[in-house]
């Protein structure tokens, strides 16, 4: 009887301990804010930004002397961000009822962190750590989807600034990827819309936000984005995604083999 009681009590204690543990969050936005708080912004002058962007999109070679320090300084923030991209949801909790006054400070931080992620991938690739580089590029793609999630047009335009360099760099690296890496990249690409994001949904939300804000304050005026301009950006992203898919296709590999 004593043994049975002990076993039951031990079982209850284990159950109680499991209950006491806080449930892991599924909202990536919370983790991203933690990464933003730890992020050390690199200089924002035009020359530095252009160098970052050229390297992130694979247009220029990795420059350890000029960029290495910034990646090292942001290692922790980048790791938090890259882990968070694997979470299933991302709710930024935006107060759209405020209309044009809705704070969207996360987009600025996300832009800089996305850029740092791109240059980290370039560094890994330059060091020959291709599998790790692919992981970081794919994290960049997932991050862009999270940044855009539930957003209006500005969220998608900002997210696109992180998505495009990852697509371009992967397209450049595609000939060097092995079968497993190609499959990984292709799966990630199939998981996102053809034009990168759901632009129609963002435009709908844009109109809804404006309508709600006007109900609260009829004096509010804000221009609605021009549909043809939005279509042009969406088509550009569609072309970048297609270019990467083409670069990954076996036919493309056969052509290279000739």
């Amino acid at each position: 009887m004593k043994i049975v009681t002990t076993i039951v009590l031990a079982g209850l204690m284990l159950v109680a301990r499991a209950d006491a543990q806080a449930p892991a969050t599924t909202n990536a936005a919370l983790r991203y804010w933690m990464a933003f708080a730890l992020m050390k912004d690199p200089p924002s002058d035009q020359a530095t930004m252009e160098l970052f962007d050229r390297v992130a999109s694979g247009a220029s070679a990795w420059d350890e002397a000029k960029l290495g320090k910034f990646v090292d300084d942001n290692r922790e923030a980048l790791q938090i961000m890259q882990r968070a991209t694997k979470l299933p949801s991302c709710d930024w909790g935006l107060e759209y009822e405020l209309g044009p006054n809705t704070p969207i400070a996360h987009l600025a931080k996300a832009r800089v962190l996305g850029r740092l992620n791109g240059v980290e991938a370039a560094r890994l690739d330059a060091r020959g750590e291709r599998a790790a580089a692919v992981d970081v590029w794919l994290a960049g793609i997932r991050f862009s989807q999270h940044v855009a999630n539930g957003g209006t047009l500005i969220s998608l335009l900002s997210a696109r600034l992180s998505l495009s360099p990852a697509l371009k760099s992967l397209a450049r690296a595609a000939p060097r990827l092995d079968t497993s890496e190609r499959q990984q990249v292709e799966a990630a690409l199939r998981a996102i819309p053809e034009s990168g994001f759901d632009w129609a949904d963002a435009m709908k939300r844009e109109a809804e936000v404006l309508a709600t804000a006007k109900k609260r304050d009829p004096k509010i005026t804000a221009p609605m984005p021009n549909q043809s301009s939005v279509d042009k950006v969406a088509n550009d992203v569609r072309a970048e995604r297609k270019q990467l898919l083409d670069a990954l296709s076996p036919a493309s590999g056969a052509q290279r083999g000739r």
């Binding site: 935006l94 809705t102 704070p103 987009l107 600025a108």
Partner: protein, 105 residues
């Protein structure tokens, strides 16, 4: 006598040299330094006025950033980047003294 006259005619009238003013001599150096400094200051101010200054970052709001993206799409990226540096204090700097013992280990 003729010799003496000829000798005296060799002399020509000449303006006497100015009597050296020691106070003016002392001031000559500082006057030049002040003049050069004034010219340099004028040039510096002129170049500062003509220098293109970075655009102020727009407010981090839906209305301000959407307007920027629609009116000047080329400037959105730079504006977001500049804005990022002003949004959160750098925790590493804020915790600087507390981190020092750990770093020295």
């Amino acid at each position: 006598m003729d010799d003496l006259e000829a000798k005296l005619r060799e002399f020509r009238p000449r303006r006497p040299a100015t009597i050296p003013d020691e106070r003016l001599q002392l001031l000559r150096g500082p006057i030049w330094v002040a003049a050069v400094a004034a010219i340099a200051a004028v040039m510096l101010i002129a170049s500062w006025i003509e220098r293109p200054r970075p655009q102020p970052a727009p407010a981090a709001t839906l209305g301000a950033l959407t307007a920027l993206a629609l009116e000047s799409p080329d400037q959105l990226d730079a504006a977001l980047t500049r804005m990022s540096g002003t949004l959160l204090p750098d925790v590493h700097d804020a915790l600087g003294p507390a981190r020092q013992p750990k770093e020295s280990q």
